[in-house]
């Protein structure tokens, strides 16, 4: 049993199932990437793991505990953090207030964690008193990830963290995500930039039409000719 084992997930938003018998797992300190074509149900699978989607079948187990029916808010308390693709910062709050709100559930001293986030993203320290809405796209993503890290999560879930940022910023962001994984946090990430994401991934899950098509290590998927041809553009 891995740290997170979301197995056999089947469900959708009321009508037809969007994901069917979908498995996603990740171990502590590792990066798992979910890739696939548009409309493959990648984001839906993420939402299912976080409990934002009613599952008809399957289960989600975190650290040996079955959390299939736990509401999303409660999952924050047991060490899951989720960074949505859009609207993932409080635009009218300053960078520092965003981080404080990330740590809302904590009653202990948050200054150390905040220093760690500033160490990871030095530009945020410079802009700590600026409203997050005034930052560039890449900086906003850093705030979004930083906010999620403030809860000291055991599992960090990122929904397309590099959407809409320049290639340079993307590389930088991936480097930081690697750094976060090294601290022992499990990272589950949905990515459009499949090739770059698989390069840093320990494990990759290729979804097609809501089902697992390929599951392997990142390296193996990159080397797999069928995966290359179908999803990575040759």
């Amino acid at each position: 049993m891995k740290f997170l084992s979301a197995l056999d997930m089947t469900g959708g938003y009321g009508g037809a199932d969007i994901i069917e018998h979908c498995d996603i797992t990740v171990e502590k300190g590792e990066i798992a990437v979910v890739v696939g074509p548009n409309g493959a149900g990648k984001s839906t699978a993420m939402k299912a793991v976080f409990g934002m989607l009613q599952l008809r079948e399957g289960s989600v187990v975190l650290d040996g505990r079955d959390i299939t029916h736990m509401p999303p808010q409660d999952r924050v308390h047991i060490g899951m953090a989720f960074v949505p693709q859009n609207h993932n910062v409080f635009v009218s709050l300053t960078v520092e207030e965003n981080l404080e709100m990330g740590a809302f559930i904590r009653d202990d001293d948050i200054n150390d964690t905040m220093e760690q986030v500033y160490h990871l993203f030095p530009v945020l320290k410079e802009k700590r008193n600026q409203p997050a809405g005034e930052l560039s796209g890449g900086q906003r993503q850093q705030v979004a990830v930083g906010r999620a890290l403030m809860t000291k999560p055991k599992l960090l879930m990122l929904d397309e963290p590099t959407a809409g940022v320049s290639p340079i910023v993307m590389d930088d962001l991936f480097d930081r995500i690697l750094e976060i994984a090294r601290t022992g946090i499990a990272i589950l990430m949905v990515e459009q930039n499949a090739r770059q994401a698989l390069e840093i991934a320990n494990h990759g899950f290729v979804l097609v039409q809501g089902q697992n098509r390929f599951t392997d290590t990142g390296k193996a998927l990159l080397a797999n000719p069928e995966v290359r041809r179908s999803f990575l553009g040759g």
Binding site: F90, V91, L93, E100, M101, G102
Partner: protein, 337 residues
């Protein structure tokens, strides 16, 4: 030309009363804007919540006056105000628990919330009329003036005096203290920041573990405090008339929308702009111009742009113009969809 007397006249009949009125409107608009920011609907019941809290304050004031309790020269109502606030908080929380929460759970459309709040408004209004009746109630006691027009004339040797009523000073002082505490709360405390975060991005607030029920409860508590303080100050300054609280919704909503919905600073700005516009447009400038013109000259008419009967039209015009020209308000706020 007699500029000093003209200014004294203007201050006495426009600046001083409009400042007090503006502070009352600003407090009212803050409550509306806060509920809009957190619960995302236009709360038509806000005026009657002001009325309800004020009524409770008046009843306690009478009780205290009957017991001979007094804080002369200050009005007894200030002593009764905390009790009135508690009653209003209880009313707001009970209403939320049994009315608004139902629609919140159903994730109803904001327009349904607004209509529901109209219903709540009528219930509050009915309760007020059953309990205290529809008539005027005067509950102000204590010293009436801080400076009378006569004192001012004696002090300065001018022929126009500036009278400053104690209630006007209390209004402005209390309003600014309340606003100061509110801004401190929103900017510096964890709960206040959580409220701003929730207002900014509800989904992300949930992901951060912010409890929506708690945020909503605090929003109602603050709103009830603001409403009762605004209503009581308004009642002290003028008199308490239950029907006025339906009419006052218009300038309060105009102030809210003018300032930018969901923006506390905007609500305060809006309150003062509406108040000054209303008073300045309905003031007869005859005497004022006479002081500024040549000796022994005066305009023939009253030089009053609008009859005071039309004072609410000023708010209405501001409301319409803002919605047409800058629907986001002075400080970019939310746009009602």
């Amino acid at each position: 030309m007699d500029i000093l007397n003209a200014l004294a006249l203007f201050a006495n009949f426009v600046l001083v009363p409009a400042t007090a009125y503006g502070a009352q409107l600003a407090l009212g608009a803050l409550g509306v804007t806060l509920i809009f920011g957190i619960l995302r609907f236009a709360n038509f019941a806000h005026g009657e919540l002001m009325s309800f809290g004020t009524m409770a304050t008046i009843l306690v004031t009478w009780l205290l006056q009957g017991q001979g309790v007094s804080i002369d020269p200050l009005p007894t109502a200030l002593l009764a105000l905390p009790v009135g606030i508690l009653v209003a908080i209880a009313m707001a929380l009970v209403t939320d628990r049994y009315v608004f929460r139902f629609y919140r759970r159903k994730r109803s459309n904001p327009i349904i919330f607004a209509i529901v709040s109209v219903g709540v408004m009528f219930v509050y209004a009915g309760l007020v009329r059953i309990i205290i009746g529809p008539a005027d109630q005067n509950f102000a006691d204590g010293e009436r003036f801080i400076i009378t027009a006569f004192d001012f004339e004696k002090m300065t040797g001018l022929s126009e005096g500036i009278a400053i009523k104690q209630t006007q000073v209390i209004t402005v002082v209390v309003a600014f203290v309340v606003m100061g505490v509110l801004f401190w709360f929103l900017q510096k405390t964890r709960s206040g920041k959580a409220m701003r975060a929730y207002s900014d991005n509800e989904d992300l607030a949930l992901l951060s573990g912010i409890d929506p029920d708690r945020v909503v409860m605090i929003a109602w508590i603050i709103t009830a405090v603001l409403a009762t303080v605004a209503g009581t100050l308004f009642g002290l300054d003028k008199s308490y008339r239950p029907f006025i609280f339906l009419q006052i919704l218009l300038p309060i909503f105009a102030a809210t929308i003018l300032g930018g919905i969901g923006q506390p600073v905007g609500a305060i700005l809006g309150g003062f702009v509406v108040a000054y516009s209303e008073v300045m447009l309905t003031y007869p400038y005859r005497k004022f111009l006479a002081y500024l013109g040549p000796h022994d000259w005066a305009p023939h008419g009253l030089v009053q742009l609008l009859s005071t009967n039309y004072k609410y039209a000023v708010s209405f015009i501001i409301l319409v113009v803002v919605l047409l020209v800058r629907p986001t308000g002075i400080i970019r706020g939310k746009v009602i969809e």
